[in-house]
């Protein structure tokens, strides 16, 4: 097959992708306020955070549990820097009252730098050890902001979305604006991440995912690649953190606890860890289920979001380890075989073959 000829599967995916984008761009003309401000805005920014996790796994072979924490770090940084001390009020954190634009840039830059440090420390670990290290980061961040009262403490830093940069404007009275900012950011993150995968940095990262020892003998500095990938993922997570506080207005230790960490992982697994699109698909499924299934009463166990999401998670893991995107990949394969095409399905081979090659 010529590399110029467009794979029909890619063509179908592009058509669907453009269709979804047009629908999302139409925004309030198609969806009601509840969908715009609750379902879709959340899907977009949780999808951004999830995409940072999927990026690390699909292209780097690393499962990071620190993405929620990094999201929270940027949210806390922003909250501490922008909020002002109100006379007689009980505002938490440092209440520095800095310029919102400066604070926005600083929150993103500092979170990225923290990600680089985290990444450098974890870059020589693989598999379960990498996972445990990133879990440690998550726990540290959670306890740090929960217990160091100067930076936050047990109760949330609130009212952060009152202090937005001038070019962003008032988000409280204009939820559509936040929706479009989230959409634009998600689109940029998606395009840049996909682009990155085709650059020398991205390709060598995928080589490291497949066999770090081989890549070392080809001349690559594996830990440096891993560190920078983690830095990029931290940058992406920091964007999600900013959108989270602009949407919610507040940030609390609960936003970055173990529960929230697991929820982000569940989104990724439902959507599919092998492909970056899975991040938003998983976030969408999770948030829809979260909002609509809350009140459903199950026989015997009663009504519980966690029970239902747990069952869905279990089914997905058993039926399609590559999540909803994996189901689509397999469906396509089945249609193709039915129609008489013969090539083995290449999708998702990469991530599923990510080997934990030790130095043995």
């Amino acid at each position: 097959m010529s590399s110029l000829a467009l794979d029909p599967k890619v063509a179908v995916e592009r058509v669907v992708g453009v269709g979804v984008l047009v629908l999302l761009a139409a925004g309030p003309a198609v969806f009601n306020d509840y969908w715009i401000s609750t379902i879709l805005t959340q899907t977009l920014f949780f999808g951004i955070a999830a995409s940072s996790l999927v990026f690390l796994y699909a292209y780097g072979g690393m499962i990071s549990l620190a993405q929620t924490a990094l999201m929270g770090i940027s949210a806390y940084l922003l909250g501490n820097m922008v909020t002002q001390r109100v006379p007689g009020g009980e505002t938490k954190g440092l209440t520095l009252g800095w310029d919102p634009t400066l604070a926005l840039v600083l929150a993103i830059v500092i979170t990225t730098l923290i990600g680089l440090v985290f990444g450098a420390v974890a870059s020589r670990s693989l598999g379960i050890y990498f996972l445990m290290l990133t879990l440690t980061y998550a726990v540290i961040a959670n306890y740090f902001f929960g217990q160091v009262t100067q930076f936050g403490g047990f109760s949330p830093i609130a009212g952060i979305n009152q202090y937005t940069p001038g070019f962003v404007g008032d988000l409280i009275d204009h939820p559509d604006k936040l929706y479009y900012i989230a959409l634009g950011t998600a689109l940029c993150v998606y395009v840049v991440t996909r682009y990155l995968a085709r650059t020398p940095f991205g390709l060598s990262l995928q080589g490291i995912r497949d066999d770090p020892v081989r890549m070392t003998s080809l001349g690559y500095t594996v830990p440096l690649h891993r560190t920078l990938a983690f830095g990029y993922a931290a940058f992406v997570a920091s964007l999600a953190g900013i959108l989270l506080v602009w949407w919610d207005g507040q940030i609390a230790p609960g936003n970055i606890g173990i529960g929230a960490t697991i929820e982000l992982l569940v989104m990724c697994v439902i959507g599919g860890l092998a492909r970056i699109e899975g991040a938003w698909l998983g976030a969408f499924a999770f948030i829809v289920i979260n909002n609509y299934v809350r009140d459903v009463e199950l026989p015997v166990v009663g009504g519980s979001f966690n029970t239902i999401i747990g069952l869905i998670f279990l089914v997905i893991v058993l039926v399609s380890p590559d999540g909803l995107m994996g189901i689509w990949d397999r469906l396509w394969g089945a249609i193709r075989r039915g129609g008489g095409g013969g090539r083995p399905e290449p999708a998702a081979v990469g991530a599923s073959t990510a080997r934990e090659a030790g130095s043995s």
Binding site: T199, P200, G202, Q206, D210, D211, S217, G219, Y220, P346
Partner: protein
């Protein structure tokens, strides 16, 4: 000849080992190996399974550190140099158990091999002119290894024999000064073996070649000198004719029990 005194070259040899040993706990995989491979030489390393050939390869390439002795490449002491830096000096190798980049296409794998010895590993942008040149070189290497009909195929979808071809293409593509192939013919069909033999015979004379090979036919046709290993030691070194005529080689390959009984 059984004592195998290595002739000392005047110019620095491409590869020089002195007293190289490697132990894994109580197991001594390689002991006290001296080896000189001259610039442009074709050298085969033979020996039964467990003779220490692959361990020796790993020590030369830097995947393993030595327990004793020194390794010199291109006249430089590289004993403490990490594998990635040795690669950038001009050493390319293949692996016995194919270590392939299964999630990448054939072309991308070869591209990474070229990029690895060059600059811009971390470049986060594509540069059309530079990348086109690198990819042209990758496709050229694929043609030489006769795998250019599978350029856009994922390596994970290829057969064992094709993996060997990709591995050879990757090694050639980086334009190494020292090419080390670990059992390149194992698992290949007769036709593929012929192809490989032709490729090795047609190799640029400037490239120094060290090859571990069980197929005596290929090894003795390609090599100018042969080093025979057994129990981690070099036991015989000579020309292919000498090796063919050597009784010890026959014993080691054809009658190991017989040899063991003699000891």
């Amino acid at each position: 000849m059984t004592e195998a005194p290595t002739p000392v070259e005047h110019a620095a040899p491409t590869l020089r080992l002195r007293g190289v040993g490697r132990r894994f706990g109580g197991l001594v995989a390689v002991r006290d190996v001296d080896l000189d491979v001259a610039h442009g030489e074709r050298r085969a390393i033979l020996g039964p399974n467990g003779a220490g050939k692959t361990t020796l390869f790993n020590v030369i390439a830097g995947d393993l550190s030595v327990s004793t002795g020194t390794v010199e490449l291109f006249g430089r002491d590289v004993t403490r140099m990490p594998a990635r830096k040795r690669a950038r000096l001009g050493l390319a190798r293949t692996y016995q158990q194919s270590r392939m980049l299964l999630g990448l296409s054939v072309e991308d794998s070869i591209y990474l091999s070229i990029l690895g010895v060059g600059d811009g590993h971390l470049r986060p942008v594509t540069l059309p002119r530079k990348d086109r040149e690198l990819r042209e070189r990758a496709r050229e290497a694929a043609r030489r290894a006769a795998i250019d009909h599978k350029l856009s195929e994922l390596v994970g979808n290829l057969s064992h024999g094709e993996h060997r071809q990709v591995a050879v293409a990757m090694a050639l593509a980086s334009e190494p000064k020292l090419l080390m192939l670990d059992e390149p013919a194992s698992g290949l069909s007769r036709g593929e073996r012929q192809l490989l033999t032709d490729l090795l015979l047609g190799l640029d004379p400037e490239i120094t070649l060290v090859v571990i090979e069980h197929d005596m036919d290929i090894a003795l046709r390609v090599a100018e000198r042969v080093t025979m290993m057994h129990d981690g030691r070099v036991v015989v070194e000579g020309t292919p004719e000498e090796i063919r005529a050597n009784q010890l080689v026959h014993d080691l390959y054809l009658g190991r029990h017989h040899y063991a009984a003699d000891e």
